[in-house]
């Protein structure tokens, strides 16, 4: 029997969505008898809030009405972490433009929005703190009135230095420094956030239906704020229209809505507008990474020094905190390279801007940009081939312990680079590049190599000092009396197709077709506690727990079949809906086994009843790896960059459903290209977001995104039970570096190098102009 895993099965999720029968939050709101909410949000970045004037005919809740509700205060247990509490509605102080101040309720969304406009805010503006520079200069105003153990507004200030660093750093023949930076960006799911809270008069419970990646964590967070038992709240994640990290933090808006539904004892709903989403639904990425590599020519990297600074906005996101960007960068910056000595400082700095949260890849798109720009700049300095300098430094013996103590499991770092080099034929490209340049056309090719840490178990989060440590996934699997299989998972897919891929894994363990397996997720009443879907973890952790649970169920099935067949269960084989004695015609159908297990349990010798099993999985984590190559053409007149070719060589272990894996890569690369060339959240000098519509914030279309060629390696390493290493973020992690290396390659003869994402046309055009004007003659 051929395995189901490894096949590109069309997804079971799709037909309903294709017919328009998906059910997203706003669809549940349409069917609900509810009040509609609109948040009144601060129009200024920083101010003392003196009064909220609510007209007599408007139903509104302000911070005063929620006095008994605790703020949200995620914690890292580290001396350099400054805990910051987010009030669920701003009280005496507003700290970013878009911060919620009141919730207005009305009979329709349009009426709620109208009423919200009539609420007046009286405030005394303060001068906003809008950059890391402003936040850390002497005499800077503190964004929060709390004690800072170090410099003002510095809320994470971590360092790490390996023994003997300085001697190694000083001993190298040359030091090369590059500084890269990323603008603020939005994960920008096409579905904005939104929530419906219904109240059950019979039980007094409320159900929050919300567009989230982590329903159980949302329940825990809200109940902590309200001081209520978790059984009083059910959280449902229906179909979720994209998330990419933006929906993996507790939304203060949800705490407000649940409180009000419990207070009014009736249903309330809120569907975010796109403007709100851009202003207030978590930003991401804004950080600067400066790296100095100490090299011996022709390019061996002996030691790495790094300074990482993240502008994290005004508050800390629950549960991962605003340490997520700088601390991940600190731990993972050396990436796929063998770095003997490492010295790093990583800071998170408060500003009067929207708080940051994870976005696909978290710090790693910027980390990878730093390391890959460093390699290219060093290669140019030493006259070394950019591929050779990478081969000289890539880790090639596994397991490998990095200077920050991470263990890289088996991978193919050099091999993936070699595969990519062969596929794109670099020498042939150089010839084309020369010919094009003679015609005045600027072509460039850039490469990026990286490893992607996935499947973090609890030890990884504990190492970061997180008071809450996501990691374990739990799966409950059962077979009903008609042999239908149900897997209940704590992970919470929102487009990744786990309903299909987990079914493929279960099908192989139980010998049933995958469409007999139903995966239930996104409902705290119907699934075991789990951490949700984020950080490329689900196929690794939830997949592993699924395999373990299915194997346990298989043992129970074999036991019951053994009773029916009067045969040793060890000698039974599963397949085609039957359990048979190997090498004979003797067997029994799964249906007979399932019916017996429930309806004639007296025939069982194992003393059990029913057919169910469960399992936890908490893996040490694993690293997939990839090499990206971008070929670009730069228009020197406009600064426009066209992607002519994009190649990915990916090693994410065993591919459970290759079509879905490729879909993740393509989507990730598209977001990486968007980050590299187009998208930027821009604040003006007063702290107002000027890119608050999709006419100002520019996600790319099919006109900008190229087809992506994909080659796979499938290294299966010991730490991974399902064999799959996870690849959800890799596309977004590797693409910016490949694109900016390609742009720099295209402009090398002009002396232009680019280090900032996005390298939007106006920025690139200015750089080209400056180089041309500065050039002699």
């Amino acid at each position: 029997m051929t395995a189901w895993a490894g096949r590109s099965l069309p997804r079971f999720e799709d037909p309903a969505i294709l017919r328009g029968a998906g059910r997203y939050v706003a669809d549940a709101v349409v069917e609900a008898d509810c009040l509609y909410g609109a948040f009144v949000r601060s129009p200024v970045a920083a101010a003392r809030l003196l009064e909220v004037r609510v007209p007599g005919d408007v139903l509104a809740f302000t911070a005063k009405d929620l006095a008994g509700v605790s703020g949200i205060c995620p914690v890292l247990d580290r001396p350099d972490y400054v805990p910051i509490t987010t009030p669920v509605l701003a009280g005496d102080e507003v700290r970013f433009s878009g911060e919620p101040v009141a919730l207005v309720l009305a009979a329709s969304q349009a009426e709620a929005l109208d009423a919200a406009e009539r609420v007046e805010l009286v405030f005394e503006p303060r001068k906003p703190v809008l950059s890391v520079g402003e936040a850390t200069e002497p005499g800077a105003r503190a964004v929060h009135d709390v004690p800072f153990p170090g410099p003002v507004n510095t809320v994470v200030n971590a360092t790490l230095s390996t023994a003997g660093f300085q001697a190694a750093f000083d001993s190298a023949a040359a030091r090369v420094t590059v500084t890269v930076s990323s603008a603020r960006q939005s994960a920008l799911p096409i579905e904005t956030r939104g929530s419906l809270v219904t109240f059950d008069r019979r039980s007094g419970r409320v159900t929050l239906t919300t567009s989230t990646q982590m329903p159980h964590v949302v329940r825990t967070g809200i109940c902590a704020c309200l001081g209520i038992r978790e059984d009083l709240l059910r959280v449902v994640a229906p179909d979720v229209g994209g998330a990419f990290g933006q929906k993996m933090c507790l939304a203060r808006e949800d705490v407000v809505l649940v409180f009000i539904a419990r207070t009014l004892r009736r249903a309330v709903a809120w569907v975010e507008t796109r403007e709100e989403n851009l202003r207030a639904a978590w930003h991401s990425r804004e950080q600067t990474i400066s790296v100095t590599g100490a090299f011996d020519p022709p390019g061996r990297l002996l030691a790495l020094r790094a300074d990482i600074t993240a502008d994290v906005g005004a508050y800390s996101c629950y549960p991962v905190t605003f340490g997520v960007e700088p601390l991940m960068a600190l731990a993972e910056l050396p990436g796929p390279y063998e770095v003997g000595h490492y010295d790093v400082r990583a800071r998170a700095v408060l500003t009067n801007k929207c708080p940051i949260a994870p976005y696909r890849g978290v710090s790693r798109p910027v980390q990878t940009l730093a390391m890959e720009r460093l390699m290219d700049v060093a290669a140019r300095r030493f006259g070394t081939d950019p591929l050779d300098i990478r081969r000289m430094n890539l880790v090639h013996e596994f397991p490998h312990t990095t200077p920050s103590g991470l263990v890289l499991d088996e991978g193919t770092y050099v091999e993936a680079l070699d595969d990519a080099a062969r596929a794109v034929d670099f020498p042939a490209f150089r010839a084309r590049q020369q010919a094009a340049r003679a015609e005045g056309r600027l072509l460039g090719m850039g490469v990026s190599v990286f490893c992607e840490r996935t499947g973090y178990g609890t030890p990884a989060f504990a190492a970061r000092g997180m008071a809450i440590t996501p990691g374990i996934e739990h799966v409950h699997i059962s077979m009903d009396p008609t042999a239908g299989v149900v897997a209940r998972i704590g992970a919470s897919p929102h487009g990744q197709g786990l309903g299909t891929t987990l079914a493929q894994l279960v099908a192989d363990e139980l010998g049933v077709p995958p469409d007999d397996v139903r995966v239930i997720h996104g409902d705290t009443d119907a699934t075991p506690f789990g951490w949700g879907t984020f950080a490329s973890r689900s196929m690794v952790i939830c997949g592993g727990a699924t395999v373990l649970a299915a194997r346990r169920l298989r043992e129970r099935l074999a036991s019951v079949a053994g009773d029916l067949l009067e045969w040793n269960p060890q000698d039974l084989v599963f397949g085609d809906g039957r359990i048979s004695v190997a090498g004979t015609g003797i067997g029994v159908t799964l249906r007979e086994v399932a019916a017996t297990a429930y309806l004639n349990a007296q025939k069982r010798t194992d003393g059990g009843s029913g057919l169910y099993a469960e399992a936890d999985y908490d893996p040490p984590g694993t690293f997939s790896n990839a090499c990206h190559v971008a070929e670009v053409e730069v228009d020197p007149e406009t600064g426009d960059v066209r992607l002519l070719r994009f190649l990915v060589v990916e090693d994410a272990g065993r591919l459970i459903n290759p079509a879905i894996a490729d879909g993740q890569i393509r989507g990730g690369v598209a977001q990486g290209i968007a980050n590299a060339l187009y998208e930027e959240l821009v604040y003006d000098e007063d702290g107002n977001l000027v890119t608050a519509s999709l006419m100002d914030y520019l996600p790319p279309t099919w006109a900008e995104i190229p087809p992506v060629e994909i080659l796979h390696r499938q290294t299966v390493s010991d730490p991974v039970l399902s064999g799959a290493k996870g690849l959800g973020e890799g596309g977004a992690m590797g693409a910016p570096a490949a694109v900016l290396n390609a742009v720099s390659d295209a402009l090398a003869h002009l002396g232009v190098e680019v280090f900032h994402m996005p390298q939007a046309p106006h920025r690139l055009h200015a750089a080209i102009r400056a180089a041309q004007e500065g050039a002699p003659g």
Binding site: S8, P10, R11, E13, D14, P15, I17, L18, R19, G20, A21, G22, R23, Y24, A26, D27, V30, E31, A110, E111, D114, A115, L188, P189, I190, E191, T192, D239, V240, G241, G242, A243, F244, T273, R274, H494, G495, Q496, G497, A659, I660, D662, G663, R666, G667, G668, V669, A670, Q671, S693, L694, M695, P699, T701, W702, A703, I705, P707, V708, G731
Partner: protein, 160 residues
């Protein structure tokens, strides 16, 4: 602040639907709330993302930028009207399924209707026309390539 409401008769997916709405109500909201056709999604409500694309007299339009009153007297088709009456998927729906042309699915209805407008028009669609049309909507999950493959495949099927 209850505004005046007016009665409309809309022709949606071959059915005549009577609705009573405020004059300011968008066609998208009317389809979703009054006709309970929630397959049409709203991603930006300012005409950029295209998730709300429907067909009006066979032409793709942004239903968030149109008032329901403007649709009276026209033929409206939504994603719910794409499959055959016996439930058989439209060639575009089938092709999106086979080519993994969707992930979260939120933009999908808009892309299906955009492509349906192109492929069901009298003029045969070339690959260039398909790519050009697809660049008018936003998808955040797929990177567009599989959407393009799906539409090209459906075009082939529909030409046969």
């Amino acid at each position: 602040m209850s505004a005046e409401r007016i009665d409309l008769i809309l022709n949606v997916n071959g059915e005549s639907r009577s609705v009573t709405v405020e004059p300011r109500k968008s066609l998208a909201d009317t389809l979703r709330e009054d006709c309970r056709l929630t397959g049409t999604h709203l991603g930006c409500e300012h005409g950029v993302c295209g998730a709300c694309t429907i067909l009006l007299d066979g032409e793709p339009v942004r239903s968030c930028l149109m008032l329901a009153v403007q649709a009276q007297g026209h033929v409206v088709r939504t994603v719910e009207g794409l499959a055959a009456e016996d439930g058989t998927l439209h060639p575009l729906q089938q092709a999106f399924w086979e080519h993994h042309g969707l992930q979260c699915g939120f933009c999908t209805s808009g892309f299906l209707m955009l492509a349906a407008g192109l492929l069901e028009s009298a003029e045969p669609a070339t690959d260039e026309m398909i790519d050009d049309a697809l660049s008018s909507n936003l998808c955040r999950c797929t990177g567009y390539e599989n959407i393009s493959k799906a539409v090209r495949a459906a075009a082939k099927v529909m030409r046969q």
